[in-house]
């Protein structure tokens, strides 16, 4: 049986009812368009929101935590075997320092799984605004490393991030904090350290993360400045941020570091579990909506084919009387369904692309997201592949049952009926 013959019969039947088939194809086009647009937009947004947090989060975060002393004095007592709840020894101040940090840094840099490490010194301060003191946290960072690993410069909305290194006693103020202090770039501001020391710092830029709570409190200074504020040596650091080549190795690596270096080490997956859940659910909803649309359009095709079969009973009977088998007839109707699916689907992919690139052009400016200019769109070809495959599969099944019915048409019944 020549496939060409099947195609030409399918085409003739299609053309005889071209308006209905067009409607069916438009249904498929519409659903695939929506599917592509929805997923591109939704995952684009997902990636944006995740990026907001995840790009700037170290894959493994090493720090020292304040622990209350595990051995309280009463434990040393000979008869302290029963119950005792006295915990009078409080944590000491210098516990926040990562001990042996220089050695740890060096061996981390040699680890082949590590992309880079960026140390940090956390300093609690107050921003002095006239008589008022505002809470603040200064992050002493290595500006160059921080930029390479965590795109620091993208969040510096005014000024140059490198000034942090080049200008002594400089500070990049959180945008929220800057507004409260009324400090402009170039101004000097005054801060008080937790030890009561007053220091003048020169504002060289603004920092905006997009998360209001952070921007009101956090500012950046160089490592050296932070160490000086605390009166510590240049090996003092409170955090080590590690970026790995493969993010999926983070839990394993974190566990290993915990054991080797006897420090706290948290992997990104543990620290941000809620983001993955949110992302997964949003993606799931997009798929569910897209696939529902497709199934609805599948019913459309099913209806059209059923109608076509009722209308074309005579044709089917004659084809069978002149030597076409049930299988041939079935193939004809499957072919019709697939034609609707493939053309509808292709146009759907095309329009989906068109609409998502349209959305991509719509300006989307918000203070919370300084790096974003237009709505985010994810052009992942995977969605186009899935959309295409789904359109073919649904139309195949939509065509399967009607075509089986057509293949069972008994020509004698039809011819006698005349």
């Amino acid at each position: 049986m020549r496939i060409g013959l099947i195609i030409s019969i399918s085409k003739a039947l299609l053309m005889a009812r071209w308006k209905q088939t067009l409607v069916a194809a438009v249904g498929v086009t519409f659903s695939i368009t929506m599917f592509i647009t929805l997923l591109s937009f939704m995952t684009g947004l997902n990636n944006l929101l995740d990026g907001l947090i995840l790009n700037r989060t170290p894959h493994v975060h090493i720090y020292e935590e304040m622990h209350p002393s595990e051995k309280q004095p009463i434990n040393y007592s000979a008869d302290g075997q029963g119950h005792n709840f006295i915990s009078s020894i409080k944590p000491k101040n210098e516990l926040l320092d990562i001990r042996n940090s220089t050695a740890i840094m060096k061996s981390l840099k040699d680890d082949s799984r590590v992309l880079g490490v960026s140390p940090k010194v956390n300093v609690q301060v107050f921003y002095n605004v006239g008589a008022v003191d505002l809470n603040g946290v200064l992050n002493g960072i290595d500006a160059v490393e921080e930029n390479r690993l965590f795109s620091f410069s993208e969040y510096v909305v005014e000024g140059n991030y490198q000034d942090l290194k080049n200008v002594p006693n400089s500070i990049i103020l959180g945008k929220g904090a800057a507004e409260q202090i009324l400090a402009n770039v170039g101004d000097n501001i005054q801060i008080t350290t937790s030890k009561g020391q007053r220091v003048q710092l020169k504002v060289v830029g603004y920092f905006q993360s997009g998360l209001q709570d952070i921007d009101k409190v956090q500012s950046y200074v160089s490592m050296a400045t932070a160490q000086k504020l605390l009166g510590e040596s240049n090996s003092y650091m409170t955090d080590i941020q590690v970026k790995l080549l493969d993010i999926n190795e983070a839990p394993e690596v974190a566990k290993e570091y915990r054991q080797i270096y006897d420090v706290e080490a948290v992997d990104i997956q543990t620290a941000n579990a809620q983001f993955e859940t949110g992302t997964a659910i949003r993606t799931l909803i997009s798929y569910a909506v897209g696939i529902t649309l497709l199934i609805v359009s599948g019913f459309g095709i099913y209806n059209i084919l059923n109608m076509m079969i009722y209308e074309k009973m005579d044709t089917i009977a004659i084809l069978k009387a002149t030597g076409f088998s049930g299988k041939d007839v079935k193939r004809v109707f499957i072919m019709i369904a697939l034609t609707i699916g493939i053309f509808g689907g292709l146009f759907g992919l095309f329009f989906g692309f068109l609409i998502s690139s349209g959305i991509d052009q719509i300006p989307f400016k918000t203070d919370a997201l300084p790096t974003i200019k237009t709505y985010p769109i994810n052009y992942d070809p995977r969605y186009y592949l899935i959309g295409g495959i789904f359109s073919v599969i649904t139309t195949y099944y939509a065509g399967y049952f009607p075509s089986r019915k057509a293949s069972k048409v008994d020509p004698v019944v039809i011819i006698r009926g005349k």
């Binding site: 049986m1 020549r2 013959l5 019969i9 003739a12 039947l13 053309m15 005889a16 005579d314 044709t315 009977a317 004659i318 084809l319 069978k320 009387a321 002149t322 030597g323 076409f324 088998s325 049930g326 299988k327 041939d328 008994d410 020509p411 004698v412 011819i415 006698r416 005349k418």
Partner: protein
Amino acid sequence: MSSIVLQAKEISKFFHDPFDIQVLKKISFVIERGEFTSIIGKSGCGKSTLLYILSTMDTDYEGDLLIDGQVMRGKKESELARVRNGKIGFVFQFHYLLNEFSVLKNVMLPGLKLNQLSSAEVEHNAYEKLKILGIQDEALKMPNQLSGGQKQRVAIARALINSPLIVMGDEPTGNLDKKNTEIVFEIFKELAEEFGQSLLIVTHDNEFAERTHRIIEMEDGMIIRS
């Protein structure tokens, strides 16, 4: 090579709905190559029923049907379709052309389905058949642009496209006027006498039947004269 193209051996047919009724009662006969046979009988005596069985479209019967020496019982649906395609040409009372296709394509379709010749050769043959029937000029029209008589001739051309062993017709002239009936009859006669084509035609027209080579007369599901 045997000269028998079709043999019916004690074919019986029952209908069960709305009540059990035997429509055909042990029908036996033989059609030889080149014979122009007509079947006559009162309305409701089972002529159409017999023809549907002989054309392999109806498989629910008792007895045996041999076409070209082969037993049809036990063949699969697709094998029967192939027999109909290659060995039987069927002409209905209502012309039953496919309105989606041109006259030429209608004639070609069974030939393309047979898939033994290239489509160019099938097209050539289709023109030949249309020429025999005197309607080659209508080849590129659509069926609904033809008169009733012309449509029936196209249907005959379609029945002939694969040079079948036998052409069957169920009242092929039943819907035609005197003049067109005459034309169709002359065509059948020419096919039988000049091309050696076997024909088995059911008709109500006794005058038509008298002029065929052989008459099979039925009554109440039985053959009373053959």
